[in-house]
C-alpha cells in the first residue's frame, strides 16, 4: 500500500479556458477562425446596440503569407463605430479572462464578452503574437495598445501603449491566429450574409483573404429599442445563483485596520482625544443616526468586546457565531484565540446579526428578483415553509436547496418581464426579407412574449415565396438573439416544427421557391450544445414557433390560392386556344361544311370571364 501524493494546484481562469478551449469553439483551425469572427463581430454589434448607434462593422481577414498552404496564420481585424472602451479598462477587458457575477438579465448576442478573450488567447497560443486594440470613446483621442496575456497569472502584459488624434469614435481589435480559410470561408461568408439579414439597421463589410469584398448596407433607418437590464425571475434560478446573490446582498464584516479605526474616530468626532470604552459608547449613542453602516458595525463589535481603540488595534475578529451568540477574536498580545458572549437583548446585537445574516427572505425576494411584491413574497414564504423574516444568512444548505426548489414550484409569480428582450420588430424584419430575397410574397409576425423556466422569450418569424428565391425550399434561416445559427440544423426545434408541417395543406407543392426566417429572442437561449448552433425543443418555444408558422402559412395559403387561380386561368386560356380550333376543324368536316365556324369570339369571352374571377 503505497500512499499516493496528490498535488492540488490552483489554476487561473485563463488557464482553465486554455485547457478547455474546445468547449468555447476553438477546437481546430477551421472552427477557431469562424468562432473568432463571430465573437468579435457580435461584440461590436452588441456594443452599438446598447448605445443606440447604427452599427458600421468592418471585418477583414488577411493571410500573413498568402502563398502558404492552409492552415496558416491569419490577421483578423474587426473595426466598429461603437462607443469604444475607456483607456484604463482596455488592458483588463482584453488581457484577462473575467468570470463575472452578473445577475442582471438582458438579451445580448454574447455573454460577458468571454468569447472575444478566448479568441485572443487562442491567437496568442497559436501564433505567439500580441493583440492590437485601438479604442476611441470621444472621437478625438485614440488609445492604441499592444497586449499579451499572462495565462498563469490571468493578467495583461502591456507591450506598447500610445495615443493618437483621430476623428472617429470606435473600437478596432486585431489578432493573429492560426486558421483555415479554405475550409472556413464559405461558413464565414454565410455568417456575414445571414447576420446582415437579421440586422438590417447595420452596415457590414467583409474583406476576405482572396481580395473579395462583401458589402451589406443598412436598409432600415430605425434601430430596434435597446434591451434593458432586469433582475432574474424566480423560476430561472438555482442554488448556486442564490448563493452568489446572497454574497452580494450581505454586508461584509469590516476589516478593523488602522484606516477603519481612524474613520470611526473621525465620525464620532474623536479624531484627537482618546476616550475610554464607556465614553465611546455614549458618544456613539448620541451620534448613532449620523453613523454609516460600517461604523455602526464596529461600534456594535466594540460594545461586546468592551474595548477602547487601543485595545481594538491589538485584536482581529475571527468569527461572529450568531446561533451560539459568541464572538471570536485573535489577541495579538496573548497570541491566542479568545471569545466573548453576546447579549441577545443588547441593542447592538440586532445590528450585528442583521449585517451578518443579510436580508430577510421577503426583502431578498422583493429586492433581488423581478416582479415579486411584498404580499407575493409572504405568500411564497408560507408556501415554502419559511418564516418571512428569516434571515438569508441563517439558511443551512438543506434550507437553500428547499428554497430553490420552492422557487421553481411556486406558481403565483408573475410571468417573466419581457422588457429585457430586443426583438427586431415586424417592419425591419419584413424590409430585410424583401430586400434580401426579392420575393413575390412576404409575411412576418412577432408573437407575444412568453417564458420557459423563468426566462422570457419572443419568437419572430417571416415567410417569403417566389420571386428570386431559388427552388428547393423551404429554406430555413434560423436566428437566436440576432445570431445566425448556421449548422447542425437537423436537431433544431425550428426544423422540427417546419418538418412537422404538411405544406400541401397550404398549397405549397413540389420544389417551392420558399424561405422561412425565425428569430428567437431570450435572455437565455436553450442551446443543445456549447457550439450554439441548435436550439433545444422546449415545449413553450416549440408552441410559439408552431403558432407563428401556422399564422404565416395561412397567409401564404391565401396568396397561393390567388396565385393558383391566376395560373389556372392562364392555363385554361391556353387550353382553349389549343383545342377549340381542333374541334372546329373536326366538326366542319363531320357536318359536311367547307367554312369553319366562328369560334374566335368564344376564346376572347373566356379570357375576360376568368380575369373577373381573380
Amino acid at each position: 500500500m503505497s500512499s499516493i501524493k496528490e498535488k492540488f494546484n490552483q489554476i487561473s481562469p485563463s488557464e482553465f479556458f486554455y485547457r478547455n478551449r474546445d468547449l468555447a469553439g476553438f477546437s481546430n483551425p477551421t472552427r477557431s477562425l469562424y468562432t473568432a469572427v463571430r465573437e468579435f463581430v457580435e461584440n461590436s454589434l452588441d456594443a452599438c446596440d446598447q448605445k443606440g448607434i447604427f452599427p458600421d462593422v468592418h471585418l477583414s481577414i488577411k493571410a500573413v503569407d498568402p502563398d502558404a498552404p492552409d492552415p496558416k496564420p491569419y490577421i483578423l481585424t474587426v473595426k466598429d463605430n461603437g462607443p469604444g472602451i475607456e483607456s484604463k479598462h482596455v488592458p483588463l477587458a482584453f488581457g484577462t479572462v473575467l468570470y463575472g457575477s452578473k445577475f442582471g438579465l438582458k438579451q445580448a448576442r454574447g455573454m460577458f464578452g468571454l468569447g472575444a478573450t478566448m479568441a485572443i488567447l487562442y491567437g496568442q497560443i497559436t501564433t505567439n503574437k500580441p493583440v492590437y486594440v485601438k479604442s476611441s470613446t470621444d472621437g478625438k483621442i485614440q488609445d492604441e495598445f499592444e497586449l499579451l496575456l499572462d495565462i498563469q497569472k490571468n493578467k495583461p502584459v502591456i507591450l506598447k501603449h500610445n495615443t493618437k488624434e483621430v476623428t472617429k469614435r470606435g473600437l478596432s481589435v486585431s489578432i493573429c491566429l492560426e486558421g483555415d480559410y479554405a475550409k472556413a470561408g464559405s461558413k464565414i461568408k454565410d455568417y456575414v450574409y445571414e447576420t446582415s439579414l437579421i440586422t438590417p439597421y447595420a452596415t457590414i463589410t467583409f474583406d476576405d483573404p482572396k481580395g473579395e469584398k462583401f458589402h451589406y448596407s443598412k436598409i432600415v433607418n430605425d434601430m430596434p429599442p435597446a434591451p434593458t437590464i432586469i433582475r432574474p425571475h424566480a423560476h430561472g434560478i438555482d442554488v448556486e445563483t442564490i448563493r452568489r446573490m446572497m454574497v452580494e446582498s450581505q454586508f461584509e464584516i469590516p476589516n478593523i485596520d488602522d484606516a477603519m479605526v481612524e474613520k470611526v474616530r473621525k465620525d464620532l468626532g474623536l479624531a484627537k482625544n482618546n476616550l475610554a470604552f464607556t465614553g465611546i459608547m455614549d458618544k456613539a449613542k448620541k451620534r448613532w443616526k449620523t453613523l454609516s453602516k460600517p461604523v455602526r458595525v464596529v461600534i456594535a463589535l466594540m460594545s461586546f468586546l468592551k474595548m477602547d481603540f487601543d485595545k481594538l488595534n491589538k485584536i482581529r475578529i475571527e468569527d461572529i457565531d450568531v446561533p451560539n451568540k459568541k464572538l471570536y477574536y485573535w489577541d495579538f498580545g496573548d497570541s491566542q484565540s479568545k471569545s466573548v458572549d453576546m447579549d441577545p437583548e443588547s441593542q447592538y446585537y440586532k445590528q450585528l446579526t442583521g449585517t451578518v445574516q443579510g436580508e430577510t427572505l421577503t426583502t431578498f425576494l422583493t429586492k433581488r428578483f423581478q416582479r415579486i411584491g411584498p404580499s407575493t413574497a409572504v405568500k411564497f414564504a408560507e408556501f415554502a415553509g419559511f418564516k418571512p423574516e428569516k434571515r438569508m444568512g441563517s439558511m443551512t444548505n438543506e434550507e437553500l436547496v428547499k428554497l430553490s426548489d420552492s422557487l421553481q414550484k411556486f406558481e403565483d409569480f408573475l410571468s417573466p418581464d419581457p422588457s429585457c428582450l430586443a426583438p427586431l420588430g415586424e417592419e425591419p424584419l419584413e424590409k430585410g426579407i424583401k430586400k434580401f430575397f426579392k420575393p413575390d410574397f412576404c409575411a412576418v409576425i412577432q408573437r407575444p412574449a412568453s417564458a420557459y423556466s423563468g426566462f422570457p422569450f419572443i419568437v419572430e418569424m417571416g415567410i417569403a415565396y417566389g420571386g428570386e428565391i431559388r427552388p428547393g425550399g423551404p429554406h430555413v434561416y434560423r436566428y437566436a438573439n440576432r445570431i445566425p445559427l448556421l449548422y447542425d440544423e437537423g436537431s433544431d426545434v425550428v426544423l422540427k416544427v417546419v418538418n412537422d408541417t404538411d405544406w400541401s395543406r397550404y398549397k405549397v407543392k413540389g420544389d417551392p421557391p420558399f424561405v422561412i426566417v425565425t428569430h428567437i429572442c431570450s435572455t437565455r437561449i436553450p442551446y443543445k450544445t456549447v457550439g450554439k448552433e441548435n436550439v433545444a425543443d422546449r415545449q413553450e418555444i416549440e408552441r410559439e414557433l408552431r403558432l407563428g408558422l401556422q399564422f404565416l402559412s395561412r397567409k401564404l395559403a391565401a396568396y397561393m390560392s390567388k396565385r393558383g387561380q391566376a395560373e389556372m386561368a392562364k392555363k385554361r386560356a391556353n387550353l382553349y386556344a389549343k383545342y377549340l380550333p381542333l374541334i372546329a376543324q373536326f366538326c366542319t368536316e363531320l357536318a359536311g361544311k367547307t367554312k369553319e365556324p366562328n369560334y374566335k369570339k368564344l376564346l376572347e369571352e373566356e379570357i375576360i370571364v376568368d380575369d373577373k374571377q381573380i
Binding site: 392555363k571 385554361r572 387550353l575 382553349y576 383545342y579 377549340l580 381542333l582 374541334i583 372546329a584 373536326f586 366538326c587 366542319t588 368536316e589 363531320l590 357536318a591 359536311g592 361544311k593 365556324p597 366562328n598 369560334y599 369570339k601 368564344l602 369571352e605
Partner: protein, 368 residues
C-alpha cells in the same frame, strides 16, 4: 330467292352504314352550330359507371340505366377528352365513308397526325367506348376492330362486301387452319351452309383437333375458336350465324369458372359492353366442361387458385348465375375446388373428346 335475299342483305348493310354516317353528321352539325353561335358544344354520354349498369331480365343481358354524363368543352378538365371524342367521330366518319378499317392500335397512332395526344392506348380505347355509347353502336360498325385471334372453320359460303373484294365468294372449309375472324368476314354476306350447328370452343389446340377429326363433317357443324373470351367481332358473327342462318350455338370451354363465364358472355354479354345490344346469343348453350363432368368422366384435375375461388364468389352475386346449370355448376366448382382443362380428356386417348364426349354433349344440348 337467294339473289333476292342477298339483295335484301346488301340493302341492309348499306342502310346500316348510312345510319352511322347520318348519326355522325348530326353530332358534327350540332357542335358546328354551337361554336358558330358562341356556345360551348357538349355531348351527353350514357354513364358507364357500375351504379348505372343493370341487368335486364327481358333482354337477358346487362344494359345501361338512364343516367348520363355531360361532357362539355366549357369545362377545362373535360376539354381534352371532348376534343378527343370529336376527333374520333371525325376519324370514324372518314373510315366509314371510305370503307376502310382500323385496329384499336391504329386509332392510337392515327391520332398523332392530328395533334391529339392520347397518353396510351387504354385512353384511346376508352374514347372509342365513349363513341360507342354516344351512337349506341359497336365500334365494328364504324370500322374499328380489335386485334384478331379467333378463327372459324366449316362449310359456310360467304360473299365479301369490303372494297376490292365485292361479290367475291369463299367457302370456309377450304383451309384446314381455319379463317381469321376479321372485318372482312364479319361484314361479309352469309350466303349458305350445310351445317346444322355452331360449336364455339375456347382453345386453339382443340379447334385444330376438331378440324383434324372432321367434326365439321361428322356433326354437320361450323367450328369457331374463340381464343379465350370471345372478341366482339366473333360474338357478332355468332349472333349472325344464329339469327341469319338459324343455327343453334353451343359452347365448349375448360372446366373452370372462367370457362363457364366465357359461355355466359357469348350468351348474355359482358358488363363492359352494357351500352351495346347486338352482341349476344341468348339461345347459346354451354355444354361443358361442367364441374359435374369432372367426376362423371374421372378427369385429371388441378386445384383452384385463390383467384379462381374469389371469382366463384363474385359470380355468385351476378343475377345471371341464380338459376339452372349456371348456379348448379358454380356451386359444384366451389365445393370440389378443383378444375379440369379440355385437354384432360387426352388421358383416355387423343380422340376421346371427339369420339365420346362431344356426341354425348350434342345429344344433351337438344334437351337443354
Amino acid at each position: 330467292m337467294t339473289t333476292n335475299k342477298s339483295k335484301d342483305r346488301k340493302q341492309k348493310a348499306i342502310e346500316k352504314q348510312q345510319n352511322i354516317i347520318d348519326a355522325l353528321k348530326d353530332h358534327g352539325a350540332k357542335v358546328y352550330g354551337d361554336l358558330d353561335n358562341g356556345q360551348f358544344p357538349k355531348f351527353s354520354i350514357p354513364s358507364r359507371s357500375v351504379s348505372n349498369i343493370v341487368y335486364d331480365k327481358k333482354l337477358r343481358q346487362y344494359i345501361l340505366g338512364n343516367s348520363a354524363a355531360l361532357r362539355s368543352s366549357r369545362n377545362s378538365s373535360q376539354l381534352r377528352s371532348f376534343t378527343q371524342l370529336m376527333w374520333l367521330a371525325f376519324f370514324a366518319n372518314r373510315l366509314t365513308q371510305e370503307k376502310k378499317s382500323s385496329t384499336l392500335r391504329d386509332v392510337y397512332y392515327s391520332s398523332q397526325a392530328f395533334a391529339i395526344e392520347f397518353e396510351d392506348q387504354s385512353e384511346s380505347d376508352n374514347i372509342i367506348v365513349d363513341l360507342e355509347a354516344v351512337l349506341s353502336k359497336p365500334r365494328e360498325d364504324f370500322h374499328i376492330f380489335p386485334e384478331e385471334r379467333s378463327s372459324i372453320f366449316g362449310d359456310l359460303n360467304i360473299e365479301y362486301t369490303i372494297p376490292g373484294y365485292e361479290g367475291k365468294r369463299m367457302n370456309l372449309s377450304n383451309h384446314p387452319d381455319g379463317y381469321a375472324i376479321g372485318p372482312s368476314l364479319t361484314t361479309a354476306e352469309l350466303v349458305d351452309t350445310s351445317a346444322e350447328i355452331v360449336i364455339a370452343i375456347e382453345k386453339g389446340g382443340l379447334f385444330t383437333r376438331f378440324v383434324e377429326e372432321q367434326v365439321d363433317k361428322k356433326f354437320k357443324s361450323i367450328i369457331i375458336n374463340t381464343g379465350g373470351q370471345a372478341p366482339r367481332s366473333t360474338r357478332t358473327l355468332l349472333k349472325r350465324l344464329h339469327d341469319e342462318m338459324g343455327l343453334p350455338v353451343i359452347v365448349l370451354t375448360d372446366g373452370d369458372v372462367y370457362g363457364e363465364h366465357i359461355a355466359m358472355v357469348i350468351k348474355s354479354g359482358s358488363a363492359n359492353a352494357a351500352h351495346l345490344r347486338e352482341l349476344t346469343v341468348p339461345d347459346a348453350k354451354w355444354v361443358g366442361v361442367w364441374a359435374t363432368d369432372i367426376e362423371k368422366f374421372k378427369l385429371p384435375t388441378i386445384p383452384m387458385t385463390e383467384s379462381d375461388i374469389k371469382r366463384c364468389y363474385d359470380l355468385q352475386s351476378d343475377p345471371r348465375y341464380q338459376e339452372g346449370i349456371w348456379k348448379k355448376e358454380l356451386d359444384v366448382f366451389l365445393k370440389i375446388k378443383r378444375k379440369a382443362e379440355l385437354e384432360a380428356f387426352s388421358k383416355y386417348g387423343l380422340t376421346n373428346i371427339t369420339d365420346k364426349y362431344l356426341p354425348q354433349k350434342l345429344e344433351l344440348a337438344k334437351s337443354l
